[in-house]
Symmetry: C2
Subunit: 220 residues, 2 copies
């Protein structure tokens, strides 16, 4: 059986959980506590699995059929793998042009917004730079607003019921966890009606509801 | 003809330049000066093209055959598109398992290292947080070391002459520009013999040499 090492509040793990649910796939969920005791992701056993010491890490049978031997990190790489292995329900569209646009929009979150606002960066701001909560919050808000303003313009052009047309794609899997985090850090989203609308549409789907942080076994 | 909006020192544009060269493709290169007058990427004409106000932006004929109508941002999405449209020389391998690993390793740079050290972030550190050069340099070095230490472990497992086996892949296209920048910021790379070795191997290839910042028309 596939295994997913994650953490309830990890945006990147949240993306993969939605992908699994949306495709109707089962994976054993293993919790890596990102905060307790300095972070279980830094312990030797997990670091051997994923040298980046980040969640998620994903494990599957390898190309030769050996169980538990194919180890993958990076949420977007994991989701593209799932999309190729289980193509019945696609998260990256078939058309070469649409695929490219979906990847581009997904990466506008995954490469521009999320990396600046994840746990390790917020920890560096606090411990490495001694920033107070206001400065940390300003940092967080700055990158959300910059990223969401750009995405909102693309949604005007490309969105339907979801971020790219009327089917759930990789973009929605990146957007919803980022909005979840934006709400957690009290970022006002009034300027982004399409982002708010599409997030609401997604959050009516069981795949998204069941993947949400509060609905995970390790939520506290 | 394809068009690439870039800037000589942009790592992300550098990746796409290598891809074009390695595949033997021609694109019209248009320079967007990222620093002059507050940055040409923020001017209205360019922001219409790429609402993220970042380079690169890439333009091609669209699915209906209309010239200059297909606009794409995000270097990894552009490179995957080129790899699908011109598959004779592949940068993402054919095997589903290898593809996933290549994407994962590429994203370990593109989603974990580069986003923290690019121009807009360094500008925020200086202007938004009033960090001095030493603190900015410590920030830069921290994320390079963290990312390269993890990648070095993966290279021990997966590398050959290049990052993933003996063919140039998407990982090399991400690594070489990041090393270029690490050198620029005087990060010592002694701890990463595979990263240094592979970068040297890549930099013997015309595709990499011709794509290097100093060899661009807008270098100054």
């Amino acid at each position: 059986m596939m295994k997913l090492y994650g953490y309830w509040r990890s945006s990147a793990a949240y993306r993969v959980r939605i992908a699994l649910n949306h495709k109707g796939l089962e994976a054993e969920q293993l919790s890596v506590h990102l905060v307790k005791d300095g972070g279980e992701q830094h312990k030797a056993d997990y670091a051997r699995l994923n040298p980046q010491e980040l969640v998620p890490a994903f494990i599957d049978t390898d190309a030769e059929g050996n169980e538990d031997e194919f180890i993958l990190s990076q949420s977007l790489a994991i989701i593209e793998y799932l999309d190729e292995k289980y193509p019945e329900v696609k998260l990256v569209p078939d058309s070469m042009y649409d695929r490219a646009l979906v990847r581009s929009m997904a990466m506008s979150i995954a490469c521009e917004v999320h990396p600046l606002n994840n746990l390790k960066v917020l920890q560096y701001l606090a411990k490495g730079l001694n920033l107070d909560d206001d400065a940390k919050s300003a940092w967080y808000h700055h990158w959300i607003h910059e990223g969401f303003a750009a995405l909102e313009k693309q949604l005007i052009k490309y969105s339907g019921r979801y971020c790219f047309g009327d089917s759930v794609t990789l973009v929605d899997l990146c957007l919803v966890p980022q909005v979840y985090n934006a709400n957690r850090f009290k970022v006002g989203l009034e300027a982004y009606p399409n982002i708010v609308r599409i997030t609401q549409n997604c959050n009516q789907l069981d795949a998204f509801i069941d993947a949400s942080p509060e609905n995970q076994a390790d939520a506290s």
